[in-house]
């Protein structure tokens, strides 16, 4: 019963703005975080299964690609968290004015970068090299 109707063009037509880019990034970050959840469970399982199992986790997590993934995952955590709080303000009706949107948007980006940097510094100081 569904007719094929033309979709209004968006990506090809709309100029990227802070609001729209942050919005899609929030969704992308969310999906990316979900993809990392098996890793989190894997970590917990390897602790539960004993010393040998945890050694396997340590070997796995020492791969460069895995570390890179965890770095990206960390940024996704802080970005999604910061923008999520911004979303919660919208949910109670605050912050829709255009200048507020821009200020809060930049604040979210700054917060994500700062929190990620602090985490990296902390991790390096623990001798984990990211």
């Amino acid at each position: 019963m569904q007719k094929e109707r033309p979709l209004s063009p968006h990506f090809q037509v709309y100029r990227p703005q802070l609001t729209s880019m942050l919005s899609i990034m929030h969704r992308v970050a969310g999906v990316f975080l979900s993809l990392g959840s098996p890793l989190l469970v894997f970590w917990l399982v390897s602790i539960a299964n004993g010393h040998a199992s945890y050694e396997r986790w340590l070997d796995f997590s020492s791969f460069f690609l895995v570390k890179l993934f965890m770095l990206g995952w960390t940024f996704a955590v802080f970005y999604h968290l910061s923008n999520g709080i911004r979303h919660l303000f919208w949910d109670v009706g605050h912050g829709y004015e255009l200048d507020t949107l821009h200020k809060s948007g930049y604040a979210v980006l700054a917060s994500a970068f700062i929190l990620t940097s602090i985490t990296i510094v902390f991790a390096v100081s623990q001798g984990v090299l990211s």
Binding site: G30, L33, L40, I47, T74, L88, T119, Q126
Partner: protein, 126 residues
């Protein structure tokens, strides 16, 4: 008196009636996840340089086990509801939509159970 035509009811048009609940629990889990996530990142950084014994000892403390489990379970729930929205937004092929939805919900339940049993094993020695 319902103003809906019998045909519309039969086709299944109209509100799905569970929209608000989904929205509400997504926000509730988000609010809970704000402090939990910060705690999680901080905790992982603290135990990441240690070995298995340290990780196990840390996670066997009741408070840490509770918060870790709360984080994982709430996170999985929030992820599952979020991904549900993404699927509904982009996948219009009904069978694929349903398949992806079921895969995601099933994976979430699987991971939730694995995480719960792991944390229980570490903290209680089940």
């Amino acid at each position: 008196m319902s103003l809906r035509s019998p045909l519309s009811k039969a086709i299944g048009l109209g509100s799905a009636k569970h929209g608000f609940s989904h929205w509400w629990w997504q926000r509730l889990s988000a609010i809970v996840l704000v402090p939990l996530t910060l705690w999680f990142v901080f905790s992982v950084l603290c135990i990441i340089s240690g070995g298995h014994a340290e990780a196990q000892a840390w996670l066997s403390a009741p408070l840490n086990a509770t918060l870790m489990l709360l984080f994982v379970l709430t996170g999985l729930y929030h992820a599952q509801t979020g991904l549900q929205v993404v699927i509904e937004d982009y996948i219009h092929l009904k069978w694929l939509n349903l398949l992806m939805l079921l895969l995601i919900k099933f994976s979430a339940v699987l991971m939730a159970l694995m995480a719960t049993l792991s944390v229980l094993k570490i903290s209680v020695g089940v």
